[in-house]
């Protein structure tokens, strides 16, 4: 690689770093909110949302998962516990899926980076996709078994 090319890569790196730094207040704000939710909302509070019938539980699973954002392993752990407590697999699937695909706390950051219109449509479509994928997964497993 010649000297000119090297300089251009350094410039690309600098531009990329500046772009990232310009988003840092938004990212730090989202991380701050995630930390508040992780500290203030306990697994017991999550469990209390369920146990109200298959359909409501699936919707609750989707919305509860969407509120959280963090290590997906935690969603498996809580999801496993919910299953043991008799919560339907539909609700648990929706919960672990929306945990990683939706994120109410990151909506301002997504809107700032990718635009309000895109954020609105994507999150609405993700909400629908999550419910459909959850139902299809559990139904398919039922058919295979």
């Amino acid at each position: 690689m010649n000297n000119k090319a090297k300089v251009s890569f350094v410039q690309a790196l600098k531009k990329s770093a500046l772009g990232f730094i310009s988003m840092s207040p938004m990212l730090l704000g989202v991380i701050g909110l995630v930390a508040i939710i992780q500290t203030y909302v306990t697994p017991d509070m999550i469990r209390s949302v369920f146990g109200k019938g298959l359909f409501i539980d699936t919707l609750s699973g989707t919305f509860t998962g969407a509120i959280f954002s963090g290590n997906p392993a935690v969603s498996y752990l809580v999801g496993g516990e919910l299953l043991e407590e008799g919560v339907s697999l539909y609700a648990v699937t929706a919960f672990i899926l929306s945990w990683v695909t939706l994120g109410f706390v990151q909506l301002p950051a997504e809107s700032e980076a990718l635009g309000f219109r895109f954020t609105l449509y994507r999150n609405l479509l993700s909400l629908i996709t999550t419910i459909v994928v959850s139902i299809a997964t559990v139904a398919t497993i039922g058919i295979i078994k």
């Binding site: 251009s8 690309a12 790196l13 600098k14 531009k15 990329s16 770093a17 500046l18 772009g19 990232f20 310009s22 988003m23 840092s24 207040p25 938004m26 990212l27 730090l28 704000g29 989202v30 991380i31 701050g32 909110l33 995630v34 930390a35 508040i36 992780q38 500290t39 203030y40 954002s69 963090g70 997906p72 392993a73 498996y76 752990l77 999801g79 496993g80 899926l97 990683v100 994120g103 990151q106 301002p108 950051a109 997504e110 700032e112 980076a113 990718l114 219109r117 895109f118 449509y121 994507r122 479509l125 993700s126 996709t129 999550t130 994928v133 997964t137 398919t140 497993i141 295979i144 078994k145």
Partner: protein, 171 residues
Amino acid sequence: MKLQFKGAKFFILVVFVYLVLFFINSEKTAAALQQGSSIVLKLLPIFLAVIVLTAVINYFLRPQQIVKHFGKESGMLGWLYALFGGIISHGPMYAWYPMLQDMKNHGLREGLIATFLYARAIKLPLLPLMVDYFGLMFTTVLSVYILGGAYLQGRFMEYILCLKHKSKRDL
């Protein structure tokens, strides 16, 4: 390039929320602050990786090439790149927003962004843990549906945006 901070008002609002919560429950709020710091530390390598990856993409792919691989003419390969990228990407969704914003400004299709973000539901390093909790059949079936859902979501996104664009043009 001039540095312009985005989301400063949102950040100040979150600081305000912390201040209010501190007066309500100082112990828990301090724990939240500590948790936030540990999240930032954990994410630093991912942030660095995203910065380097954005630079690599900008350096090796000129805007015309980004349009060719990820733009309107990208075809099936574009969808496959988005699905594959989503599966192998690590960290939380918001860590990827700066890179996606940059690529979008260079011509990345919005449908591919939606597909990439939904395909991130498949977490390769966590698959063994998922199998352990929910079984191999559940993990396999769910992963297949996630990929299908991610692709369809991207297609729907483009369809909706196309309709919006059309109705704006007709007005």
